[in-house]
Symmetry: C2
Subunit: 338 residues, 2 copies
């Protein structure tokens, strides 16, 4: 039977649930609910819910890279589960930091259980991520590879902390250069995607050099992915994104096209800083962005990273059925309108 | 030269600082300050401060157990640094959760940089702890031992999450049994101390069974340590503890002697739940606790755990100069009046 995206995701789910039963067994019911809720396994009462939260792109990428490197995804399942848990940990804490009420169409953890519990639940998912990662040593990953993967996971986490710090600082900082922004999203969005590709490749038996090509593929894919997000946040079709038109302008987000404009136009800067975001202001901001060519700039940047990602991927020389799925996944991520 | 407590602490400091320079090098200055500040290395402007925060009992215990098991503390330094970082991570998040303003005589991280940054700084210390732990594989710890230590570290972190959850829940729960309380402090206070003794022993070359005796020693030491804290929080001498007399009663803390009383006396319960804590109420609470023998109960519990700790330690058969220092440390911890 040919593997499908669904078959990978099903095995991932099973791995995560078995690990949860193992590592969280001593936890009181309510605490277990706090940890399982953001994963989409239970509702807030602890009753079964079973609609996995999010697209699970990261673990999928990791599993596909392991097979595309020529190995089996068996060895990669613990790491895949770990990156998904890590991603969810960061969302739980993000939502507290940003005061966000809704995540994946459901109330956020802190909205249900309060901020103190949500901090602890996030910490719990972080600890759980590491616990699951350590299962590598039980499924037969060679000690040397397991050690390298562990070190990459560590360095990636510290990169995420850097990205998150910059993201929060930029919110109140008046002058943010597009180069600062790219450095921030390299940490916050791209580092984990890059690490997924690299760890997957190593767990699939790639040597360091080939794994580095996978890493570069992931890094540039992650950057392109974030820039696509930024483009959709301004010019996305509300009917497809499910968000208001120009949603990022309404929330004064400093995304790449905006920063490009702010660097170049004083009127835009004063609009963005001082005015209330009435429909008229939003319209004028959109006009200014168009005149400055912010959309073309962002699209060119996206294309640049897509090209680099594709170059790196071809150097990585992915093989087998997973290579085709990897290509499908990449096209889906980059071509998306939502 | 005979090793001294100071010589261990100096080597620990050096390990931590070298690791910080390595793992945090990409972090912006302000973020580095947020991570180094709670360790007592810098002040809030980033200028050198150099008064290590806290007593660093946990890493010390880990290093001593490694040598007392017959090994060298070289192999144990990364794990020792990791537990100290982990402890500090938990304090940074604790202070947010408890709205605490002061820690080790200085403002808490969230008081200086706000809660969103403090959540991220705590996460950073957590990630940093794991990064330093992974240095085990570079200093020559055999892969099998490193894997076991990693798994213990993981399980301990998940225990800490459980303890923290219970601690927060008990604050608002009206009926907390002394047995629930002991389960909570086993997670929150004793689990990490137990893991320190166990990981130290394993890194010092102990076999599983002997390491388990070290674990039991640490677990009961940790429980006795916490109960001593509880006793000092009510009957401690303000001149020695540096806190107000009956400080835990003023803050309505549900410590072991209090819970013992609450289980037994309705008047105490109503005083604790409804009245404002005037000096008269505090005096009546103290009187009731005395009449109920809460102090004797707590002291008997403390003694029980001390005995169990000492039994386990003698089964662990510590050797060499470290065995003597381990004994000194234990006596200091248990005999303390502050």
């Amino acid at each position: 039977m040919q593997p499908t995206i669904t078959s990978y995701l099903d095995r991932l789910s099973m791995t995560m649930r078995i690990s949860a039963d193992r590592w969280l067994q001593a936890h009181p019911d309510e605490l277990q609910t706090m940890l399982r809720f953001p994963l989409g396994w239970v509702d807030e009462t602890g009753a079964s819910y079973d609609r996995p939260a999010g697209k699970r792109i990261r673990p999928l990428l990791l599993l596909l890279c392991a097979e595309a490197a020529g190995g089996s995804s068996e060895h990669a399942l613990p790491a895949a589960a770990a990156v998904e848990l890590l991603h969810n940990f960061s969302l739980v804490h993000d939502d507290i930091q940003d005061d966000s009420d809704i995540r994946h169409g459901r109330p956020t953890v802190w909205r249900i259980w309060g901020k103190a519990n949500a901090i602890n639940a996030g910490d719990g998912l972080f600890a759980f991520a590491y616990a699951v990662l350590s299962e590598m040593i039980e499924v037969g990953v060679p000690a040397g590879v397991a050690g390298t993967v562990w070190q990459i996971f560590n360095a990636t986490n510290l990169e995420l902390i850097r990205g998150q710090y910059l993201d929060m600082r930029f919110e109140t900082q008046s002058d943010v250069a597009t180069s600062d922004y790219l450095s921030m999203i390299a940490g916050k969005s791209a580092a984990l995607i890059a690490a997924c590709a690299q760890m997957g490749a190593l767990l699939g038996g790639a040597d360091t050099q080939r794994a580095d090509s996978f890493y570069e593929f992931g890094l540039h894919l992650g950057l392109a992915f974030q820039i696509r997000d930024d483009i959709l946040g301004i010019w996305g079709d509300p009917a497809l994104t499910g968000k208001s038109a120009a949603t990022d302008i309404l929330s004064r987000k400093k995304s790449l096209p905006i920063l490009y404009g702010l660097e170049r136009d004083a009127r835009l800067k004063s609009l963005y800083q001082s005015e209330t975001m009435t429909p008229e202001v939003v319209a004028e901001v959109m006009q200014l962005l168009d005149r400055l060519g912010a959309s073309d700039y962002a699209k060119a940047q996206e294309e640049l990273y897509v090209e680099r990602a594709m170059d790196a991927l071809s150097r990585a020389n992915p093989v087998g059925a997973a290579a085709i799925l990897l290509d499908t996944l990449t096209q889906q991520l980059l071509g998306r309108s939502a």
